[in-house]
Symmetry: C2
Subunit: 454 residues, 2 copies
Amino acid sequence: MSLISDLRSLLTIEQVSQNETVVNHHSRDESYHTPHNPDVVVYPHTTEDVVKVMTYAKTHNIPVIPFAIGSSLEGQVIPVRGGISLDMTEMNKILEVRADDFLVCVQPGVTKDQLNAELARYGLFFSVDPGANASIGGMTATNASGTTTVRYGVMRDQIRSIEVVLPDATVIQTGTLAAKSASGLNLTGLFVGSEGTLGVFTEIWLKVYGIQESTIAVRATFESVEQCVKASTMIMGAGIPVTRIELVDEAIMDAINRYKSVEYPVSPTLFLEFQGTQKSIEYDVELAVTLMRDEGLSSVETVKDEASRRKLWDSRHVAALAFRASVKGKEQMATDVCVPLSKLPAAVVDATNAIKEHQVHGGIVGHVGDGNYHAILLVDPHNPDEMERVSMVNEQLVRFSLACGGTCTGEHGVGLGKKKYQLLEHGSSLALMQAIKHLIDPTSIMNPGKLIDE
Amino acid sequence: MSLISDLRSLLTIEQVSQNETVVNHHSRDESYHTPHNPDVVVYPHTTEDVVKVMTYAKTHNIPVIPFAIGSSLEGQVIPVRGGISLDMTEMNKILEVRADDFLVCVQPGVTKDQLNAELARYGLFFSVDPGANASIGGMTATNASGTTTVRYGVMRDQIRSIEVVLPDATVIQTGTLAAKSASGLNLTGLFVGSEGTLGVFTEIWLKVYGIQESTIAVRATFESVEQCVKASTMIMGAGIPVTRIELVDEAIMDAINRYKSVEYPVSPTLFLEFQGTQKSIEYDVELAVTLMRDEGLSSVETVKDEASRRKLWDSRHVAALAFRASVKGKEQMATDVCVPLSKLPAAVVDATNAIKEHQVHGGIVGHVGDGNYHAILLVDPHNPDEMERVSMVNEQLVRFSLACGGTCTGEHGVGLGKKKYQLLEHGSSLALMQAIKHLIDPTSIMNPGKLIDE
């Protein structure tokens, strides 16, 4: 009982918990990875609280695993070696909105939706949309992206500065608030995507954007997934500034129809969004439709009013959920490769074939403007044969991606599930990553077992 | 003579030089910093050549300073401790153009103009334009930016992957060719901007863009620099996707008129560029002019044909040269702070006052859409009193910038000249930068004396 009493004496009684429900909640994320309990859950309120916990953890060599919403998809928040699950959800204040600078400073527990609700009052929005209502801290730690990345970039592109409590309990502030800088080594970019293995984020300065004048959404169907992807590549090649360009395959469209009681054509579909001044986006939509016709467009629907747009995007957003609901008693494993744009049609055809070949129940959705797609594979985790076949599909997709210069994970991160591909992907640079991890966290107390093998 | 004979035996006789003219050429850059000769100049042709030189340098503890065009502005290429100036200009091949992927692979000695000439054949262009016809290796090392950064981002935003020869002579490849990745620690971003202090770049994969359909250039004059900057901030705030938005003050406009024999109004001026589809940019220009009128626009010229646009931008590009030519016998020292956008009007007013107060001959140009501006200060380096006054102006501008969350250098880099501000700017995170430098280059043979004090 010394762990809990020590931590309670450093903080307050309410900030430290070993309640079974609480501990269980902190043992898992939204992935198929096996849960593991932390020894204790701690709720810091301030940077000073985090410093106290980190000093204690360093002295006693106890793992510290930052946690917030638990929406990670590769086991990033699972305390595989026990220790302290550091729940950041009570550090959830929006500290400063600087509308004139298009900047905002938040604590890590602030969620994406919470931030956007506040920013709307200023006519602003935060661009990264990974689907889940994730925390900004978690999105920073995993370099999250999503449907709007094709236009606005990934999480790393939005971050100006991070306050980090390092494993030795010192506090640093990376970067500045300037739009660009050529000063010093780029630590901000190094901490973004480090999955809690290099320190705990306590404040984050983010870039935000003005809400655009007009929005048009388009749903376009094709005969094949390959045609969809080729049409997407043509639109990107023409430099049309789409805000979103998303693929949903036939199997998943069918699941959406049943889940949402809608009647969309059961065909490979592109969902597109255009934002800007009304005149400019009308022109962009016209051009995009012309290009899609060249690639064999079957049907197209253009919607402008907010209710219809919401309905259309809601269908895309529930895709994974709808697909999982379409087969009873299965969990979902999503692949996440990202390939150079020109390789995407072949990659998606290869994935479709792999799903057929290994007789897996799977469908494909993708952020096709970035070359990033997910094969959503439904699997019974208690069926070893099925798990094996799903694993072979995953393996084949990753190897295809790496062979053509892509990555094993475009946005879900490494966590536990993609560690086995790190040497293949990074080659001799993996040793340098390990050396940097060892430099910053020599006793490996920060989220051990994730991202990089020490 | 063992240094030169050793290196010649490792490479070829022609690849190693101690010719006085050659050595002198490698002793300086375009800054006011004191030149220092290297002991020898080496011209590698392949990654393998670089590995040989690095192995030798490591064994004998000899400094290695990557060099190409020598256009750095803070002494980055000056061999302050002698050693090997590693001239990359003979590694100047464009290795691969992947038009479908909007990617290109180059050797570090390829120049910006050379690359753009080749890309034009594919309807593509490389976006970063720092003014000088710099090498891609140098631009990568300093995280260069320039006039188009407001639209396309800095050098770091363009780089997918770098082949680096580390100080221990191992070769790594950072990143992948995918548009986004959440795999591993972000080493690419760490090497970009490291100013040759972490290794030698031997291959660089860059993002390129499709040439836009139409371009419109605008020259707009105002009564005060403050009005210019406020108008710029309004245009940025409205989300108009300008390609360039540049400030030139009255003193420098006067110098341009005399240097180029043109007759522009001698007033604070904004130069703007808009690129996109013809309809959309006509609308953007209309909106921008309306916003500028609200801020007190005096006169405006809109030009569409290529010859007139070239003439207009040529005036902006020669600004520093014209200003230097306006006073005989002076060298130029340029400040390079970058501040959050809302602080820019006050920063520019403060700079104007500082120039007056210290009786320095100075003018202001700026990439005002990014919050980055340069006070160009003319100085006789042999006049200690004048040097002292120029130095006080520089100091005042940097302190103003850091106090409002900005950086001491937006794009010129740290080199020798901004090292003294690193602790003030980075605080406790400077120690981590130093630790990373020490980790990668424990004996400090890579460009010693620059960026970070070991």
